[in-house]
């Protein structure tokens, strides 16, 4: 046991004295956590989580202006009103805006001719590569358009105008007498509705003794209401962007541990000190255990350091369960220790270790949440990322922070990482034995 501890302490000491390795293991993860935390919190200059759109109001009428005002006040959109279609299209092409919404100059007039063949017409210009956002915007515009219709039916003069235009339109329209008669009945009803609406508003203003505006208190006509709820309750939402970015920082720290300590056997071989380790009165597995222990401790230190840093008030990283967090940290350490041993077993030279680190470990870290958070990825990539141990580590981190998983919910990730640890250690040991003998 003393030999195992001596080897572990020696490896940690050497890692700390290698300034480059120490930077990437202990310092760079903090930079990653802070950088992505600022970016996702909106520190990059955009409204956090909002879709940036450009809006051109060619109409300037009251209905058009009301729609533009709704666009600018919507929580899901970051709308910027710009003077021309050309400028908007350029903004979309250059990626400054996701889409361009054009309210045409005929908007107000076409609204009032709703029953005369007109209707709400809004033009949406999008980047063809951003279909998801285009779908979201189309839905949002439909929502706001219905809201306009709702306000339209609270305005008695607008209802009266629409009805008049509708009546005029059906006179010359090619339809049967029965259809024309049925529509006349509808328009007659709307006329009566308009008159009653106007009378009610007048009475209300007289009673209140103040001009509250036309039909301000009329019912709100919203034929479609979408109730939105999330799978997480209020308690379980990320409280800050750092709850996501600190997980990314941990991923980068773990990656650096794997690549840094994974090369240590190759370095010992090149340095000649592996010869001394093999001729010492210890077994091969003690040497490997010592190296694994060093990597395990480094993984633990990185994770604990970021968790500790996350408790500062400005970062507000919530730990939902400290016992589960500790369990996750330990199991994650075991898992990445195994990955390190596998790398050490496969890499015979320092160059080989660096190559494997770049080709394999870096890619696994990137698809495992090291660059883009897992839930931002397309579904296919999320599925593929399941092969990466980093993915499971990220799920554990999310689990003991903002997702507030129970032990049962964390069980699969814990099991996967334990398996990676055991299998990685075993396979790495076999490869090393094969190489040495």
């Amino acid at each position: 046991m003393l030999a195992v501890l001596a080897i572990a302490v020696k490896d940690l000491r050497l890692a700390l004295r290698d300034r480059t390795a120490a930077f990437f293991i202990f310092i760079f993860p903090v930079f990653v956590a802070l950088f992505f935390g600022v970016i996702f919190s909106g520190g990059g200059g955009r409204g956090a989580g909002k879709v940036p759109i450009a809006v051109v109001n060619e109409s300037k009428g009251p209905r058009a202006s009301a729609l533009v005002a709704d666009l600018r006040s919507d929580d899901a959109l970051d709308a910027t009103e710009i003077p021309s279609r050309a400028e908007g299209e350029q903004g979309v092409r250059r990626g400054r805006f996701t889409a361009l919404v054009i309210v045409p100059d005929s908007f107000d007039a076409s609204v009032l001719s709703l029953f005369a063949g007109g209707g709400l017409t809004i033009e949406l210009v999008t980047d063809p590569s951003r279909r998801a956002e285009a779908g979201l915007l189309e839905g949002k515009l439909n929502e706001l358009a219905f809201r306009q219709l709702g306000s339209l039916f609270r305005d008695s003069s607008a209802v009266s105008q629409m009805t008049s235009l509708g009546k005029a339109a059906i006179v010359a329209a090619p339809m049967s007498d029965e259809e024309r008669s049925a529509l006349s009945t509808v328009f007659g009803g709307l006329d009566r509705y308009s008159t009653a609406l106007d009378a009610a508003s007048t009475k209300k203003r007289t009673d209140a003794g103040a001009d509250t505006g036309a039909n301000a208190d009329a019912f709100e006509w919203r034929p479609i209401r979408v109730k939105v709820s999330t799978v997480l309750d209020e308690r379980k939402r990320p409280r800050s962007s750092y709850e996501i970015s600190f997980g990314q920082g941990v991923v980068w720290g773990l990656m650096s541990c794997v690549t840094g300590f994974g090369a240590s056997l190759a370095e010992e071989r090149a340095r000649g000190t592996l010869l001394r380790l093999r001729t010492a009165p210890i077994r091969r597995r003690q040497v490997l255990l010592g190296k694994a222990l060093a990597a395990f401790l480094a993984c633990m230190i990185v994770q604990s350091m970021l968790i500790g840093l996350g408790q500062l008030p400005m970062f507000d990283v919530t730990i939902s369960s400290w016992p589960l967090a500790m369990l996750a940290v330990i199991v994650t350490g075991i898992g990445f220790c195994g990955l390190m041993m596998l790398l050490a077993g496969l890499a015979r030279t320092e160059g080989g270790a660096q190559g494997l680190g770049r080709a394999a470990v870096l890619v696994l870290a990137m698809i495992g949440g090291g660059t883009i958070p897992l839930f931002f990825m397309p579904p296919l990539l999320q599925t593929i990322s399941g092969i990466s141990p980093f993915t499971w580590a990220t799920r554990l981190i999310d689990g003991y922070t903002w997702r507030a998983f129970s032990l049962a919910e964390m069980a699969s990730a814990l099991a996967v990482l334990l398996a990676v640890g055991v299998i990685g250690f075993a396979v790495g040991t076999i490869f090393m034995r094969w190489q040495e003998d």
Partner: protein, 279 residues
Amino acid sequence: MLQLRGLRKRFGSIVAVDDLSLEIRRGEVFGLLGPNGAGKSTTISMSIGLLRPDEGTIELEGEGSPREPGVRRHLGLAPQSLALYDDLSAEENLVFFARLYAVPHAKRRAAELLEMVELAPRGRDRVKTFSGGMKRRLNLAVALVHEPKLVLLDEPTAGVDPQSRASILARVRELAAGGVTVVYTTHYMDEAQRVCDRVAIIDHGRVLALGTVDELVRAHGGEVTVVVERGDEIERMPTAQPLPLIARILESGAATGIRIERPDLEGVFLSLTGRSLRD
């Protein structure tokens, strides 16, 4: 102390060690000499337990095979390639290896060894700041940290300055005087001649000659050579009877200078292994 019996080791089609048998006695400095590719390193590796012989046995007296970790506790190795951690200090290197061997009071033992190899003033400095000679001395110290019964020194003075070389040779003689058995490999014949009690010359994996330096010289060194200088001319005359020859030369009065060259270990080595270059 160390018995090698009928050792054979093959690497593919190459026979590195071919039926080699040696017995190394307690407390002696035993030289293992041979040209490049003779099988010295393979023999050393098998003796320390790094390689398993294809045939034959190796036994450390009273302990067993060096393949067993417990037996390796009594063996020390100073490899030809320096095996030190450059980013650790000399003291840290010694303490680390002492702990591998479960040496009690590791720091005290490290201090003793630093004094022994004359590195005490630099004990806290990182090894990467050391000269080649200093690194060689530390390399030797690491081999001795656990007070082994037998230590294998593989070209311990390769590439060092004369001062470090003298210091290392002095330490080797001290070790032997203290009862430690030393197996010493070197390409410097004068070193082997100075420090070794017995020498084995091996080539192609086999022992060509074994004995004290004097025995080898008598058996394989050939005759004494009388070198006569006559102005700018030099004549070399091998002879079994140097004194009568010298007397005749002096009587003739033609010599401006006379010296005797005795056969040495290098001569023995070359006569046994040949003068052709080895890869």
